[in-house]
């Protein structure tokens, strides 16, 4: 049996090891590092199934007042691990682009860091997953953010990337500022930073509501930034479009999921307050509408996926509002699969053509396998039955109806129709149009395995949840 914190330690060690190899073994092909990372993370993932249960929180400060290994946490640790593995696989496909935009002494310089950083990020995500103390949340969240600063603007010869990097930097720092200020206020009111104790303190009627709410709202702002909820979504389209594609995928899945798990934890003490509920409903409504509507006119697939990820954040928020942890979790898993799948295919295709939708013209003939995978991903994102996406939506709507969130449900239905529109634009490009270039698109075995796995996963979750 393994104690939960060891998982992060293991991941860290893996990261260090890769860094060392990167810096001292100049000769080796850097891709082997990625493979090593994948294997290592796989091992950790395996290990995560043999965890010793969380010891009862003993009185007095200890590790366990910051850190929990409850099922939710463990689940999201695995989530983070899987995400990172897949992202690494994508990064291997993406390596040529990196090489093009990072000139260095050796022809592979920079790749090592490129592969190492996600692993540290993964550690950060895992810590976020089990953070139950505001300080812990702050620290791990900053770790994640920090590494994303670097990753987003990694291919720094590419102006677009740098622009994305700067935007992400400033806005994210801004949100950090609000996070800190919010935590300050919570602390000021309750004198606590541990969530459980904060909850106890808030339960006490003597506490002042207004400052507490104020602090909470500021924290929500920061988290809303992470999960790309309207009105804090503004960075998303630009950054997603500009960032290196695997990083985009990582952002849209990893940091969003972590944001949600933190959100679920943080909101626990505050749900009893009607204002909070009202606020969340409003935000969910705006998010789901904004994301899906603004996606309609997009022509760049990365940007389209950015908007759609806003939309999905909206659906997830609906789930959060309806207090349905199951729905949110399931939806996130489905979201992971379909988003990463589409990004993986996007990378492969973009290497040959580009990331505009019209670059997918005639993919049906050029690369039937990829096209079918994309079809599946799009169908799932749109919510066609027998895909994970459908079940996710089903559960979300179910939960929402159970709580009589009529407005949300109506918005949901309307936007689902929009979703069909813009996701099927891709399908149309792939199957209706005929492409200029008819060169078949090569696909390295590892990615093929990964893509197949994700396709199977989508269908499996859709048929047998």
């Amino acid at each position: 049996m393994i104690s939960a914190p060891l998982l992060e330690v293991a991941v860290l060690l893996l990261g260090f090891a890769i860094l060392l190899c990167e810096s001292f073994a100049e000769r080796i092909d850097k891709r082997t590092l990625a493979v090593a990372g994948i294997i290592g993370l796989g091992a950790v993932l395996l290990a995560s199934f043999f965890l010793s249960p969380t010891p009862a929180p003993m009185p007095g400060p200890s590790l366990w007042s910051f850190y929990t290994a409850d099922p939710l946490a463990v689940f999201f640790k695995r989530f983070a691990l899987v995400t990172t593995i897949l992202v690494l696989i994508m990064m291997i496909d993406y390596a040529p682009v990196v090489r093009e935009f990072v000139h260095g002494t050796t022809k592979q310089s920079g790749l090592g860091e490129f592969f190492a950083l996600p692993i540290f990020t993964c550690a950060g995500l895992m810590w976020m997953a089990s953070a139950i103390d505001f300080i812990m949340i702050f620290v791990s969240l900053e770790l994640v953010t920090m590494s994303f600063y670097v990753l987003v603007s990694f291919t720094r010869r590419n102006p677009a990337t740098l622009e994305a990097g700067v935007k992400y930097l400033i806005l994210s720092a801004l949100s950090t500022g609000f996070l800190v200020y919010g935590i300050t206020w919570i602390f000021g009111v309750t004198g606590e930073t541990n969530l459980a104790r904060v909850a106890i303190a808030l339960a006490n009627p003597a506490i002042e509501r207004v400052p507490a709410l104020f602090g909470m709202v500021l924290i929500l702002v920061a988290l809303g930034f992470k999960i790309a909820a309207v009105p804090f979504q503004l960075w998303v389209p630009d950054v997603y479009q500009g960032a290196p594609t695997p990083v985009t995928a990582f952002l849209s899945v990893g940091s969003k999921a972590a944001g949600f798990v933190v959100l679920l934890r943080v909101l626990q003490p505050f749900f009893m307050l009607p204002q909070m509920h009202r606020l969340l409903v409003g935000i969910a409504l705006l998010t789901v509408l904004y994301g899906n509507l603004a996606a309609l006119p997009q022509t760049n697939l990365k940007r389209l996926l950015a908007y759609s990820s806003i939309g999905h954040a909206g659906y997830l928020l609906i789930g959060v509002v309806s207090l349905s942890g199951v729905a949110v979790t399931f939806y996130l898993v489905g979201y992971l699969l379909m988003t990463l799948l589409s990004f993986a295919i996007l990378i492969v295709v973009a290497n040959q053509a580009g990331d505009e939708i019209r670059d997918f013209d005639g993919l049906g003939e050029r690369a039937p396998f990829l096209a079918f995978g994309m079809l599946l991903a799009m169908a799932s994102l749109a919510g066609v039955p027998f895909t994970a996406g459908f079940f996710g939506k089903f559960l979300i709507f179910d939960a929402a109806l159970r709580h009589h969130e009529t407005a949300l449900v109506v918005a949901g239905v309307v936007t689902v129709a929009c979703g069909f529109y813009y996701y099927f634009k891709v399908v149309r490009a792939m199957y209706w149009e005929s492409s200029k270039a008819l060169t078949p698109i090569s696909l390295n075995p590892m990615s093929r395995i990964a893509i197949t796995a994700m396709m199977i996963g989508i269908v499996a979750l859709g048929v047998y949840p």
């Binding site: 300080i135 702050f138 620290v139 900053e142 920090m146 600063y149 670097v150 603007s153 720094r156 010869r157 102006p159 677009a160 740098l162 622009e163 994305a164 990097g165 700067v166 935007k167 930097l169 400033i170 720092a173 801004l174 950090t176 500022g177 800190v180 200020y181 935590i183 300050t184 206020w185 602390f187 000021g188 004198g191 930073t193 389209p237 630009d238 479009q241 500009g242």
Partner: protein, 106 residues
């Protein structure tokens, strides 16, 4: 007589100034400074709170001060990375002005 409120107000003003700077200035470096201001404003409140809440053992609540310590560290690291990015940007585009980096839009 100086109350907790005074400190909070000062920190609030500082926070606002920082935020205003982020919104108003176009030079990314200065925007970055403003962000620092915001973080430190938070620190001020934190310290004030920690001083205000005397523990049973008659000491200020050091948890807050530890948090301040973390914030300062993070801020410093952020500055380092941020400035690196800005430098890279300047190398690529010879500018630190936000208007000049609005190619990604809509």
């Amino acid at each position: 007589m100086i109350t907790l409120g005074h400190y909070l107000l000062v920190s609030g003003i500082l926070f606002t100034i920082g935020f205003a700077g982020v919104m108003l200035r176009r030079n990314i470096i200065i925007i970055f400074m403003s962000l620092e201001l915001m973080l430190n404003a938070a620190n001020l409140s934190l310290v004030a709170f920690s001083r205000f809440r005397i523990q049973a053992n008659g000491l200020p609540d050091y948890n807050a001060q530890v948090f301040v310590f973390f914030i300062i560290t993070v801020a410093a690291a952020e500055v380092a990375v941020g400035l690196a990015i800005i430098v890279a940007l300047y190398r690529a585009r010879q500018t630190t002005h936000v208007e000049d980096i609005s190619s990604l839009k809509f």
